[in-house]
Amino acid sequence: MSDTAHDPVPNRIHARPVPRPGRWIAAAIVVVLAAMAVHGLVTNPKFRWDIVWAYLRDVTVIRGVGWTLLLTFGSMVIGVVLAVILAIMRRSDNPVLRSVSWFYIWFFRGTPIYTQLVFWGLISVLYPTLSLGIPFGPEFVTFQTDVVITAFWAALLGLGLNEAAYLAEIVRAGLGSVDKGQEEAARALGMKERTILRRIVIPQAMRVIVPPTGNETISMLKTTSLVLAVPFTLDLTYATNAIGNRLFEPIPLLIVSAFWYLLITSVLMVGQSYLERYYGRGTGSERPRRGGPRRPRFGRQAAIKASGTAKDDPFLEVTP
């Protein structure tokens, strides 16, 4: 016990905690179940851990990881750039820009990503040539579609254009979260609208935009497994499935792909937490508060509901 003579609280309370046998029982049950699960994983020969180990470092698998990462980040970049444009259009005074943005979001969110990917894969059948020119007027440059839009670009565009619709709502919710007084103060200082957006509104909106965008990136990592719809056949899921089918050992190869997805997700989560800390500066969250209340996350659902393009139904779930 501490020396009571130096205790600044002379009448410090030394009470016994409430007995909580239920906690111990629950913990024991969970530990036993977890041990059973691990035991089942390790001792069941059908998991073929030898194959898992061999193919974790297989060249085709590693290349698949590379393609999956490229698709994830490439489509997120396309998505973010388009989303910022769409969100700014949605805030504009110009009704044409507002409606186009609304229509885009409505369309890309209203059809399955799988359908969109198949469509992008068929684009060269629909339009054998692509040309730049004036609608119904002269054309200046013409391309062979299947040369310009390869399976990779079709996959990237398909994922990016779809993601933009979701990110646009997140960006819009972020821009809307910034106090109107901020814009006014900046305007009163003589800043131009573009400067206000770039220096005042967007940096503050990032605090709201970054967490769900991180979640979207993690979600995108896994959505890339749908690119076989294009068909694009080099990504991690396709590569591991192909090997699994060839070996007649699908299960160990599923574990291989799960391992890689988990590893990348974990790295992304670390990156996300750094970004959140950076954009949370000035809000007191730069000082670590262990166990303190966490900021509520603005999820995809919240953003969609805020958008007004979905029905106002609290139980409505909208997924890609």
Partner: protein, 255 residues
């Protein structure tokens, strides 16, 4: 006679069907401190916001140092709306301090004071920093320069906001109830900075309920009610010997 710093003529402002300003005239000479009094909802903030184009007048005109705000008048007397860039340039010469401070929360006090100097006046970072340091020192915050707004008290935030406006070397400063959001013990430090500014010859238009400040610092007091100027003159007249019943009624509630 010298050109007035502020000259408002027949100002009308409608918000939809709501007629908020109903023909306001106001003249403020250079170096003068004008205090605007009036009950809540009488249009004081709206008038102030029209003085730097945060609101656009429905009728009438505002001239700042002789220059028509928001429009160019051609030889036939037709008004042409100015380009937003030109309006932004006009605003940069008019400082404004808000009731709720509106500091930029993602920037430190120093960065708040530097931002518009760099973005609007295109000063170098070094020059902007030097000016910001000098102004923060002047408002008594040299030891708080690297604090974020959330780490400052309301009185400190408002003093940073004043420094931020002064950094643009404004010709005139507008204050909209600068102490109304403050705890009573913090009001004095902000008023002290404002008195110091007035003593330095700054032209100021101040909306406030601080009658003591008005009596001590104002050259000119304006009492507004229901979108019109009811009474104006020296503080000794308007505050201590009001001629109008509405003024007396209002003062009896705030004094």
């Amino acid at each position: 006679m010298t050109t007035p710093m502020v000259e408002v003529r027949g100002a009308h402002k409608m918000f939809g069907d709501l007629h908020v300003l109903r023909g306001v005239d106001l003249t403020v000479a250079p170096g003068e401190v004008c205090v605007v009094l009036g009950p809540s909802g009488s249009g004081k903030s709206t008038l102030l916001r029209c003085l730097n184009e945060l609101e656009v007048l429905t009728g009438g005109s505002v001239r700042i140092d002789g220059e028509l705000l928001g429009y160019r008048e051609d030889a036939h007397g037709t008004l042409h709306r100015l380009h937003p860039t030109a309006i932004a340039q006009q605003r940069s010469r008019i400082g404004m301090v808000f009731q709720r401070f509106h500091l930029f929360p993602h920037m430190t006090a120093l960065e708040n004071v530097m931002e518009a100097q760099v973005q609007v006046l295109k000063r170098s970072k070094a020059a902007a920093r030097a000016k910001a340091v000098e102004l923060l020192d002047r408002v008594g915050l040299s030891d708080r320069m690297h604090h974020y707004p959330a780490q400052l008290s309301g009185g400190q935030q408002q003093r940073v906001a004043i420094a931020r406006a002064l950094a643009m070397d404004p010709e005139i400063m507008l204050f909209d109830e600068p102490t109304s959001a403050l705890d009573p013990e913090l009001v004095g430090e902000v008023l002290a900075v404002m008195k110091d500014l007035a003593a330095g010859g700054m032209t100021m238009v101040v909306v406030t309920h601080e009658i003591g400040f008005a009596r001590e610092v104002a050259d000119h007091v304006v009492f507004m009610d229901e979108g019109v100027v009811v009474e104006e003159g020296a503080p000794s007249a308007v505050i201590d010997a009001p001629a109008e019943e509405r003024t007396r009624d209002f003062l009896s509630h705030v004094l």
